[in-house]
Amino acid sequence: MFKDILFGTSASPAGDYAARVAFELAGRFDAHLRLVHVLGVPSRGFSYLAEDVRTGEQVVIDDDYKAWVEEEIKTYYAKQLEKCNDYSIHVCVGHPHREILREARNSNPDLIVLGGPTEENEGSAYKKIVAGSTIQLVSKSALCPVLLVSRPAASFWGGISSVVFGADFSKASDAAFKFAKKVAASIPGCELHIFHAMDIGPVHTGLSLSQEEIEDKIREARKKIRHKYVANLEGFEKYSMEVWEGLPYVEIVKFAREKQADLIVMAYSTKDVDAENARLGSNMEQVIMRSTCPVISVNRKMAKN
């Protein structure tokens, strides 16, 4: 399933859950694991200083410094690396999303793993925004699925027996469906739950729909699911489908909990790309932050492949 996995690491506790998943996956699929650490964000105008993302210090980044950071990364992941026989470490300077995408463009991985923003206050609000926008921007432009982990994943790949596919009927959603099906089909006994959350909008605006309208829409969505997805299951039998109404990220997290999902696959929605709203967090970000299982984002670019 995966031969080359790119893991964007922060080599800090913030990325620990993601690291576990990345190492676990690489081991299970005998994949090459590419640890990409964006160690500094350029600052100070045109100067050669960058802010070390872990220490917050202003440093001049040269080959010595990079080599030193590489050692630090090896020490940090010493235990996991011992068991990992095929990996490489890449240290670079720049804006995290851009450098991860640059590395992905060069190496063409089939999965990118990123740590998500966490709800705990371990980092500053600023860091949360950076993590949030990195996820958004990488998910938007990557040419492969992006696996996002922000809470300790209860079970890992291979132990996966339940995949939830969050459908939204977009082009990207078609690609996400294909990917979810592929994952479920590759694991014996795995279930696939197709789910759509109907956004009924803010309840207090006075624009809320009548119950009848809601039920009509639900019927419509079920029809669409049958036509778009169920019809394309090609003999895969262990599936279910459901449509709930409400606030999409709340509903999908609830649904995933009910189905004891090990993985959620969602389409990346371009509507979410808005630097200002990134502060509040997109629908996807909310799901990542709240769900107990990892989330895989698939974007429209993958619909072409």
């Binding site: 350029p42 600052s43 100070r44 105008g45 045109f46 100067s47 050669y48 200083l49 001049v60 040269d62 720049g94 804006h95 851009r98 995408l101 463009r105 432009s141 977009s170 082009k171 929605s269 371009t270 509507k271 808005d274 630097a275 429209r300 670019k301 072409k304």
Partner: protein, 460 residues
């Protein structure tokens, strides 16, 4: 004559020298070598005699020490009206003294001159408009920086910066291959959202040749994609040159006139090669000044103008909005209070103040002017290379206060800043003073507000 291996009177013309400078963390060895660097007083005096034009000489002589320029200088204001920050004092105690002593100055004096020229003046040229004689310290300090550079007294980052221009013909180590590849990459990355999006390289006879700041390909190539999207939306016939794409000039901040000439001739070379109707410069103030205003003189062009008509990005934007090539969705105009940072380099020194206001009238519902504004606006606090020099970080941070107060007084939290330097300074302002402000170039805002033509609409 003790010349250091890093700090000396040589220009940086090889990768080896450049890398050796870069490897010297924060310029430690460089600055310690500088303490022993000899001043070639004969050469200094000779060069003054042949290059100090009569205008500057007269300025030095006629200054009446009236002090009217004092309040004009943001650094004087930011430093609690420190008398050593009065513009006339700053120049008289440096350039004035060197001339008086006929170039007979020592190492210690030159280091003081360097610190003054780079940490007490951003060459914003504001004082000149308040002096009854029109004496402009920005121009005088620019000249003085050149003298310092030729003697090897130049801040470490700017020695590197000018070397980058000499070696890479760009302010950062971005090669022609890197640049062209980045253009391809950005077109690929965004073509799903904007059908038909392309970044045409080296197309001849285009209407527009677009040039950028090396930081864009290096660190935020999105900016190039955004420029492409807007040109695409407007239906422009445009191109970027594979060679001669870098518009900026750290060499100008450094006072390395040789490198300034080299850099600008790259761009003019691209104009001759591709024969575009016009050139558009990205949202960068000093780049415009370097290539459009000063460049022709460096390159020895008799009519004082670049080979093809050259305009700043804000001029293109105003034109595109005025002619309806880009249409703004009225519902998406900026509703919150918003202010505009007038960059000295194209507002005060190139008269583009009205163009900036015109743009704001199309895109903002609650535009708040800073006070003072337009040609009287204060420097953002990071001009002339001030942002990037570690040695003067503290002084720079103090200098930011004037602009910060100006911004806060408008009540706006969003600052539009179509200049890389000002943008950086405002970003740093937030980092240092936590005032809760945001900053943006024009491009991303315009893309959000524009109504895409029908053929560019994409289904979800």
């Amino acid at each position: 004559m003790p010349e250091g291996t890093l700090c000396n009177k040589q220009t940086v013309d090889t990768k080896e020298y450049l890398n050796a400078l870069l490897a010297d963390k924060s310029g430690k060895q460089y600055y310690s070598e500088m303490e022993k660097l000899d001043v070639d007083t004969d050469k200094l005096w000779k060069s003054i005699k042949s290059t100090l034009r009569s205008r500057l000489r007269t300025w030095l002589e006629i200054c009446a020490h009236c002090g009217m320029c004092a309040d004009a200088c943001f650094l004087y204001l930011a430093n609690d009206r420190d008398p050593t920050q009065v513009p006339s004092y700053k120049i008289q105690s440096t350039l004035g003294e060197i001339v008086k002593r006929k170039g007979k100055v020592n190492n210690e004096f030159m280091r003081m001159v360097m610190d003054t020229a780079w940490s007490k003046c951003t060459c914003c040229c504001r004082c000149g408009s308040f002096c009854p004689f029109g004496i402009d310290m920005g121009i005088m300090f620019g000249y003085l920086r050149g003298l310092c550079f030729s003697q090897g007294f130049v801040p470490w980052e700017l020695k590197i910066g000018s070397g980058m221009h000499r070696v890479y013909k760009a302010q950062m180590d971005v090669t022609v291959e890197d640049w062209v590849d980045t253009c391809e990459w950005m077109a690929e990355e965004y073509e799903d959202d904007w059908p038909g999006l392309a970044i045409p390289v080296d197309k001849e006879n285009a209407d527009i040749m677009y040039t950028v700041n090396a930081r864009e390909p290096k660190h935020y190539p999105e900016d190039i994609a955004e420029a492409a999207i807007l040109f695409h939306m407007a239906g422009e016939n445009w191109t970027v040159p594979s060679k001669g794409w870098e518009e900026t000039s750290l060499a100008m901040f450094a006072g390395d006139w040789g490198a300034c000439k080299m850099q600008v001739e790259e761009v003019y070379g691209a104009m001759h090669r591709l024969k575009p109707k016009r050139m558009v410069v990205t949202e960068c103030g000093h780049a415009y000044r370097a290539t459009v205003i000063e460049g022709p003189y460096w390159a020895g062009l008799k009519d004082g103008r670049p080979p093809v008509e050259s305009i700043h990005y804000v001029e293109w934007v105003a034109e595109a909005l005025r002619t309806g090539k880009i249409k703004i969705d009225p519902a998406k105009k900026i509703k919150e209070p918003v202010t505009y940072q007038d960059s000295c380099n194209y507002i005060r020194n190139a008269g583009l103040k009205n163009v900036a206001r015109e743009i704001m009238s199309y895109i903002a519902e609650d535009f708040r002017e800073m006070t003072p504004n337009r040609e009287h606006n204060f420097c953002c606090g990071g001009g002339g290379g001030f942002n990037g020099m570690g040695r003067y970080r503290e002084q720079r941070n103090v200098g930011l206060k004037v602009k910060l107060d100006q911004i806060l007084d408008t009540g706006a939290k969003l600052v539009i800043s179509p200049c890389h330097n000002c943008w950086d300074a405002i970003r740093d302002m937030e980092e240092v003073y936590h005032a809760g402000i945001r900053w943006s170039f024009l491009k991303p805002l315009l893309i959000k507000m524009a109504i895409p033509p029908d053929h560019l609409k994409v289904e979800e």
